[in-house]
């Protein structure tokens, strides 16, 4: 099975302390460390496991600048066979539709049986998977937490609100966006990354992909970010103090007072 996994380079929430920049429309990105979006990492692990089971190859793809190559290498160190970097100044400022448009152009150049993306990205809107499927006119499932590959078909499980599980049969090729927890991604160490350091990663620009530069980037964006801020802290939280028994007593009192008991 030929699998394409769309990944994104994002500031790592675990290793950063976010502050706004001086103009207040974005994060202060000077001191940030980046890594691959967590959901995408699960998608790559899942793709590798499928290929281990039924054969084929895994390609990872990203839209970004030169530095995005780092996340492709990390995923290749994990076990992805190929990487593709879609990069062009014209891509800068793309909204979800723009990214999906760029990805679609490359997807159409290959022949993939399965296209995976993360369910969402740390700083994204969870749009690209669905838009890409629509543009490609392929079946789509979101929040996938189980995949059973079959012949020409695939069975996917989806996590439903309230902890329920749904199973769907879909024709291939299709697009799936992957939920965290679908597997346990393997560890990638520095040694693994060094091993793939010299593997060639092709870079493709708007003209390579045959994309009209005006349809993507900030120019082609249909949505525009107008503000970015950290909400003010509300005063909803209250710490109960005292011994365990006292805390329990106070809690019961409060619950009673608010009609909770």
């Amino acid at each position: 099975m030929e699998i394409l996994v769309c990944v994104k380079r994002v500031p790592d929430t675990a290793e950063n302390e976010f502050e706004l920049n001086s103009s207040g429309n974005d994060l202060d990105r000077d001191d940030l460390v980046y890594s691959v979006n967590e959901w995408d990492n699960y998608a790559v692990e899942e793709a590798i496991q499928i290929v281990d089971k039924v054969g084929g190859s895994v390609t990872v793809i990203t839209v970004g600048d030169d530095e995005s190559e780092e996340v492709l290498r990390r995923e290749m160190a994990m076990g992805a066979n190929h990487g593709i970097l879609l990069t062009d100044d014209a891509f800068e400022g793309s909204d979800g539709k723009g990214i999906a448009t760029i990805l679609k152009a490359e997807v159409e150049k290959g022949s993939y049986d399965l296209i995976l993306s993360g369910a969402q990205a740390d700083e994204g809107a969870g749009q690209v998977g669905g838009m890409l499927a629509a543009m490609l006119d392929m079946p789509y499932a979101s929040l996938v937490n189980k995949i059973e590959p079959g012949d020409g078909k695939i069975v996917v499980g989806r996590e439903i609100e309230g902890g329920n599980q749904e199973m769907n049969e879909m024709d291939l090729p299709c697009v799936l966006s992957i939920q965290t927890g679908i597997n346990e991604p393997r560890y990638v160490g520095i040694r693994g990354i060094r091993k793939v350091a010299s593997v060639e990663i092709p870079e493709k620009s708007a003209s390579d992909l045959g994309i009209d530069a005006a349809s993507v980037g900030s120019e082609g964006a249909l949505t525009k970010r107008v503000d970015y801020f950290v909400p003010d802290l509300g005063d909803g939280a209250e710490m109960l103090e005292g011994s365990t028994d006292e805390i329990i007593e106070k809690l019961i009192e409060k619950l009673k007072a608010k009609g909770g008991l």
Binding site: A14, E17, S35, Y187, K195
Partner: protein, 688 residues
């Protein structure tokens, strides 16, 4: 007939010369033994290299103390003393057994030098040796077979009980002792009956007793007994020799080599591959131990040498809290695999991925590398290097639990496991206005000083532990030490990074720290974190000398640079808990105690498990992030031990011990009755 006929001149049924049998038996025995040993050596030849031929002087010292002197045996008194008697008996009797083999085809053979007085003294001693061994075997058999000490039990899923083998071997040894003594006693009784001449025999020895019993037995029976006992001994001897390599008694043969080749340095970790430089590591196809043959030959020799005495697991804190790790079975399972994959005949089997085959991932991650097992092993078997090599293999295969992946990634990106910003590494000083006003701490990125205070990650970033950094600085300042810190240039010391098998990340951290430290031009390094102390001292190369703060304090008290007030809380009972990386791995036991004892009026008790038998509180560094399967916490057991010792304040000298014991005091509900203090906190309280 003037004397009894020995096996060399005896003729079976009056025709067949016994000498032929006496000659053939050793040939068959030695031939078979040689074949068995060749099969046993086969895996060692295929194993990874190991560097064990250096530092011969230290190796001879180990041999003299651990092997010949059996110094670790009495740590378990009864078993230890029994073993010493049997071991010493074997050494003495090995000479007698050798000459007995030759006596079988050469009458009256005496080894060169054993003719005169020396021979008489030897005979006297060997009679007691045989007696001692027999008595010890009987006691040991009763102990193993009837009382069955708990530490020998084998959990059902890990295979069969080894008691039968143990008692069987004690039986063979007893047979050797009895047959040797009867062989000699029958000859002496015969001669006594014939000539009335008395030989001097060691009183109350086996020979002495048997001789008395045989004094009136008819001569033809004595003659028969003499020959019969010779062959009983001969057969038992060669059977024993060939049986040894089949199980846990292989140590009788391998122990001398195992101890000689055992580790001579403490606290360090073996390189990924002996003979491959750091630069050459990128060319290796694989890292660490993935299959059986990835172990080094010495580590395989360890597996062969285990006597299954269970002391390692009896001391192992992971085993004590019910984690899926028992060092004894790390060895036994590997030995069973070696025996299975390298059978006595037929083809050698291919080994699979060892972590799936005989070990589990959780088992290998459960080790805190505290070193209690290695400290205890009477055969000097190593565990930490093996665990690290297994982890290197797992890291290389991507088999790392999610709980450890996050801190490892943070270490890669930010140089600390918490993912905190580098520029905030000195916030324990810079963001504490009151403290900053009191003490100016030099940033050695900009200024110079004699001494570097290496803070390390937990003390730099953990709100609760930052106090150790402030106290340490106050003490250093008070003692007149000209010191500074690396600030944002400092990275995690990596003590646990190398021990958790992330070799390349460790080398990155080491190189960054080494460059930053050498750049400062300091003359010495001081740290309050034993894990940093250990890494900087034993794993880094080419750094200035490293001291733990307790060593600095003890030294300054001794030469009068530091004076301490009388105990501020004289009603408390203090106990010192030895951190593994200060005590066992680096031998710093006395300095912290000396500093505590320099506080007038401070009442200090000792834990039963202290110094080199200290009990790990739960592990440090990355171990804080690992989520083990366990029934209770190590810290909880430790706090209970302190309570039993009658202590109200546990003093430790390690930030990780502090965290673990603080948590354990809460878990045990001992808040209010028990308190834990870091060494620096106690000393700072008592600065004049």
């Amino acid at each position: 007939m003037t004397s009894i006929v020995g096996p060399a001149s005896f003729k079976f049924f009056g025709i067949f010369p016994a000498a032929i049998l006496s000659f053939i038996l050793p040939i068959i025995g030695i031939g078979l033994f040689t074949y068995i040993m060749a099969r046993r050596i086969a895996p060692l030849v295929r194993a990874n290299p190991d560097s064990r031929f250096d530092q011969i002087g230290k190796r001879i010292v180990n041999l003299a103390f651990i092997w010949l002197g059996q110094v670790r045996q009495p740590r378990y008194m009864l078993a230890g003393v029994l073993h010493i008697v049997i071991f010493a008996g074997f050494l003495v009797l090995s000479i007698r057994s050798t000459s007995l083999v030759v006596i079988g085809f050469s009458d009256g053979f005496v080894l060169p030098g054993f003719g005169g007085l020396f021979g008489d003294v030897y005979n006297f001693l060997k009679d007691y040796a045989a007696t001692g061994v027999l008595v010890s075997c009987i006691i040991a058999a009763i102990r193993r077979g009837i009382f069955k000490p708990k530490r020998y039990a084998v959990p059902e899923k890990l295979g069969k009980d080894h008691t039968a083998e143990a008692v069987f071997v004690l039986g063979i040894i007893s047979t050797l002792m009895i047959s040797e003594s009867l062989f000699e006693a029958s000859e002496i009784a015969y001669a006594f009956q014939l000539t009335g001449q008395e030989y001097f025999l060691a009183p109350l020895s086996l020979v002495w007793i048997f001789k008395g019993m045989l004094s009136s037995v008819p001569q033809n029976i004595l003659q028969g007994l003499h020959i019969f006992m010779y062959y009983v001994h001969d057969l038992a001897f060669f059977f024993f020799l060939c049986f040894l390599p089949m199980g846990k008694h292989f140590h009788v043969i391998t122990s001398v080599f195992n101890v000689f080749f055992s580790r001579v340095e403490k606290g360090n970790i073996k390189p990924v591959m002996y003979g491959v430089s750091d630069e050459g590591l990128d060319d290796l196809d694989s890292f660490g131990v993935k299959t059986l043959e990835d172990f080094t030959w010495k580590h395989m020799l360890d597996f062969y040498s285990c006597a299954d005495c269970g002391r390692c697991s009896d001391q192992c804190p992971a085993n004590a809290v019910g984690r899926p790790l028992s060092p004894r079975f790390i060895t036994i399972k590997a030995r069973d695999l070696m025996f299975k994959n390298y059978p006595m005949s037929g083809e050698i089997y291919k080994s699979g991925l060892i972590v799936e085959d005989i070990y589990t991932e959780d088992e290998i991650w459960s080790c805190t590398t505290c070193g209690a097992c290695e400290e205890e092993c009477p055969l000097a078997i190593e565990y930490i290097d093996k665990i690290v090599d297994l982890r290197r293999g797992m890291v290389d295969e991507g088999m790392v639990p999610q709980s450890l992946q996050k801190p490892l990634k943070a270490l890669e990106k930010r140089g600390n496991p918490y993912g905190k910003m580098e520029k905030k590494r000195a916030d324990w000083w810079a963001k504490d206005k009151e403290f900053k006003a009191r003490l100016d701490i030099k940033d050695l990125g900009k200024k110079t000083a004699d001494t570097l205070y290496f803070v390390d990650s937990i003390t730099s970033y953990d709100d609760n532990i930052q106090e150790i950094a402030r106290k340490t600085s106050i003490i250093l300042d008070h003692a007149g030490v000209d010191f500074g810190i690396l600030g944002k240039l400092e990275k995690d010391s990596g003590n646990e990074v190398i021990r958790f098998g992330e070799e390349m990340l460790w080398q990155d951290l080491r190189d960054q720290n080494t460059d930053a430290i050498l750049e400062t031009g300091v003359k010495q390094i001081v740290t309050a974190d034993p894990h940093a102390y250990n890494a900087l001292k034993n794993d880094y190369k080419g750094l200035p000398g490293v001291k733990h703060i307790s060593q600095v304090v003890a030294e300054k008290i001794k030469n009068g640079d530091l004076e301490l007030k009388p105990c501020q809380s004289p009603d408390e009972v203090y106990v010192y808990h030895d951190p593994c990386y200060l005590g066992r791995h680096n031998g710093v036991y006395e300095d912290p105690r000396a500093a505590l004892d320099a506080i007038d009026g401070l009442t200090r008790v000792e834990l039963e498990k202290s110094r080199d038998r200290s009990f790990c509180c739960g592990g440090g560094g990355l171990m804080l992030f690992y989520e083990p399967e366990e029934e209770t916490r190590m810290g909880v057991l430790r706090v209970n031990m302190a309570a039993e010792a009658g202590a109200t304040v546990i003093v430790t000298a390690c930030p990780f011990c502090l965290v673990n014991i603080q948590d354990a005091i809460k878990v045990t509900g001992k808040e209010g009755e028990m308190e834990v203090l870091d060494f620096t906190e106690l000393i700072e309280q008592h600065l004049v």
